[in-house]
Symmetry: C2
Subunit: 414 residues, 2 copies
């Protein structure tokens, strides 16, 4: 491939790209090279009209009647039915609402009683911190009923023992972009008598996930990264059918009641995954997510994954080839099969480098430890974007353009 690697050839490759037309479904500022869809996906164009419709006509004109006439009450279910096929799940295995953190709490609490006598929640020390914190909070509440055990990245399977009730891990690690083999880890956990709770925040919408095919138990994930649902969008959770009747949500809100409008004094869980709903659905945010998910209509998830891997391969080749002499190292696995839809590089001045890039219209993000993350969203990123971004990076590094106080000074959110 290296011999053909010119900008012109990449422009041609974009023309042949079967996903090229998806870019038109998004609103992207002219000239911006956006590699941060793994933090916040950009708005699909349809979101604006939908939000205007929901606020002006539904909320503004039909008011309270909209719960019936515009089906607000079923919106969580309709959104779930759009997310399910991206995850290899059945519609009735997904519930949508609350945040990823809150959903993780629900499923951890639900999982422990499914493995009586066991109390360990096993995670990697590279797990996204909020997942670890939620388990710690549940542990304090259960007062000895939950023991969190952290092992180095990659050591989960080897660490399984007969006290592990749940393995709680990311499908794609947020810093390195390392992809965990879902089928293999699920098999290993089941053999050891444990369940697995997946955090799909960095894989849902970036690649086809096969929860059903892998025999997965439980999962949560985020609506605002590769699902493009907007900042702080509602999250989702997955409970395999075989666990649904035994699994109880600790957050027993009225929307998870078998008959919410009977206003009984006692909670009776809805049948199925609906029992994991809790409070009143956040209609505005759900409507945005609902409209955003339509960009996946007719998208071939294998083509999506193929393009994601090609974009990653291209970025690695260009950066290691062009910037290797400037202190940049690859953090992500070199092998695409082990990588999600992001490529992370290390640089001792990663924070300042990222700020200098943003200033030049290339937007990755930074994570502690010198990590520069480039998220790759195949629906709107072009091959030529990767070329252009790599050029800017090379220039920033070669000229030490990052070495300015304004780039080194930390902002609140990095």
């Amino acid at each position: 491939m290296t011999s053909q690697l010119t900008r012109e050839n990449l422009v041609r490759r974009d023309r042949r790209d079967p996903l090229a037309s998806c870019r038109e479904l998004f609103e992207l500022p002219d000239g911006l090279l956006y590699f941060d869809g793994n933090s916040l996906g950009p708005p699909p164009r349809a979101v604006h009209a939908r939000l205007a419709e929901v606020t002006a006509r539904q909320w503004g004109e039909d008011l309270i009647r909209s719960w019936n006439v515009h089906g607000w009450i079923d919106l969580p279910r309709r959104v779930a039915a759009k997310i399910a096929p991206l995850l290899g799940a059945q519609d009735d295995e997904i519930a949508v609402g609350d945040s990823t953190s809150v959903n993780l709490f629900k499923l951890l609490a639900a999982a422990l009683p499914l493995r009586p006598g066991r109390r360990t929640v096993l995670s990697e020390d590279g797990q996204f911190p909020t997942d670890l914190y939620m388990a710690q909070g549940l542990g304090e509440l259960l007062d000895g009923g939950l023991r969190q055990r952290l092992v180095p990245v990659g050591d989960l399977a080897a660490a399984l023992d007969d006290d592990v009730a749940v393995v709680c891990t990311s499908h794609v690690q947020f810093k390195s972009g390392r992809l965990v083999d879902m089928a293999a880890l699920t098999r290993a956990a089941h053999q050891a008598g444990a369940l697995v709770l997946w955090d799909l925040s960095h894989s849902a919408g970036a690649m086809g996930v096969d929860l059903g095919g892998c025999g997965a138990d439980l999962a949560v994930g985020c609506g605002y990264k590769f699902l493009n649902g907007g900042p702080g969008a509602p999250a989702f959770l997955y409970v395999a059918r075989r666990h649904q009747e035994a699994a109880r949500s600790p957050l027993q809100g009225w929307m998870g009641h078998a008959d919410p409008f009977a206003f009984d004094l006692g909670y009776r869980p809805a049948s199925g995954v609906g029992r994991f709903l809790c409070g009143t659905p956040p209609v505005l945010s759900l409507a945005a997510l609902d409209a955003a998910l339509d960009v996946f209509d007719g998208v071939d998830l294998e083509a999506l994954r193929r393009k994601s891997l090609e974009l990653g391969e291209l970025l690695i080749e260009l950066v290691l080839g062009g910037c290797g002499g400037f202190g940049v190292e690859l953090l992500s696995p070199r092998d695409g099969a082990l990588r999600g839809s992001q490529v992370s590089f290390l640089h001792p001045e990663g924070y300042a480098v990222v700020q200098a890039l943003i200033d030049r219209g290339v937007v990755p993000d930074f994570r502690e430890g010198g990590v520069m993350r480039f998220g790759l969203t195949p629906l709107y990123l072009r091959y030529v974007d990767v070329w252009d971004a790599a050029e800017v990076l090379r220039d920033v590094l070669a000229t030490r353009a990052w070495d300015e106080p304004r780039y080194r000074q930390r902002k609140k959110v990095t």
Copy 2:
């Protein structure tokens, strides 16, 4: 007053109303008489422009940078500072996010360890059911560490004993509109060694609440009723300063961490009420709520309460006077001092009556047990609206217009 009670006089009263101009801040369909602001407040006009700005310009153009440049990360705090003065709270005693149900769970779990050796959560059997369910869910999790005890409406103070850790009650009861004396119950609870957790869903924004003056401990409330934040808007919670350092949230998400972007492996709670934040803030919904709250700018909360009571008095007088012969009874307290900002009537065919009213452009709502609820929002309701609604109600009852199959057939959400 009865001698002067004509429609013409009420039109004159609306002209003199110091709150009359507030109506212009809302979008209300022509001719609709909306008495359901206690279920879903209508959109303040400013919400549309704000949502368009946040989605198109902030999310669409500045993307991930908006967390800094548009201050998304501080949005929960900015919204809290707008809610605090409505509640007699300090800005740093309010946290905004999640649902009322989830916030209630956080505070109940935080409250129990503040009263060691006690395990009873005391509520009325007329409490809004989701509050009861959340306590039940926490009880199952704590496995004996929480005992829910329900007493008849009005019996809380008499039921206090030395096992009561927390009284969990509504400030205004959702069915009857009965207003609880916050200062008196707080005093009684404190004398008995208990805390009180208030659900302010039906009082916040409908009247000035004086959490600080009453020495209140904890509270939660809803953003989509009298705060007009939109369907399923983010909720709020209140923790009095004196409890903040000892109170721990069981839902330890990264936004409640002392340093969220340090990505530590262990949770350290933020100082103050910020520790009760959890997942990523729902920016779109928060922005809508933020814009909606501006309708309270410069509103005299005493004038608001005065008008609310006058609207209620008027409705009771007109309905009992005009419809008393048709099987309508008053459920709400007759004494305004004991009433929130709604008036509830009983009718054996209440469901059908409410449907017939809605069909004629008068929108109250129905709750099980024949309860017809008329929510009174002084910011946009006119005295003449009350007159007109009472006329329609009288007509529906006098002609038995409700007695049709289409009005009797139950919808999903009533």
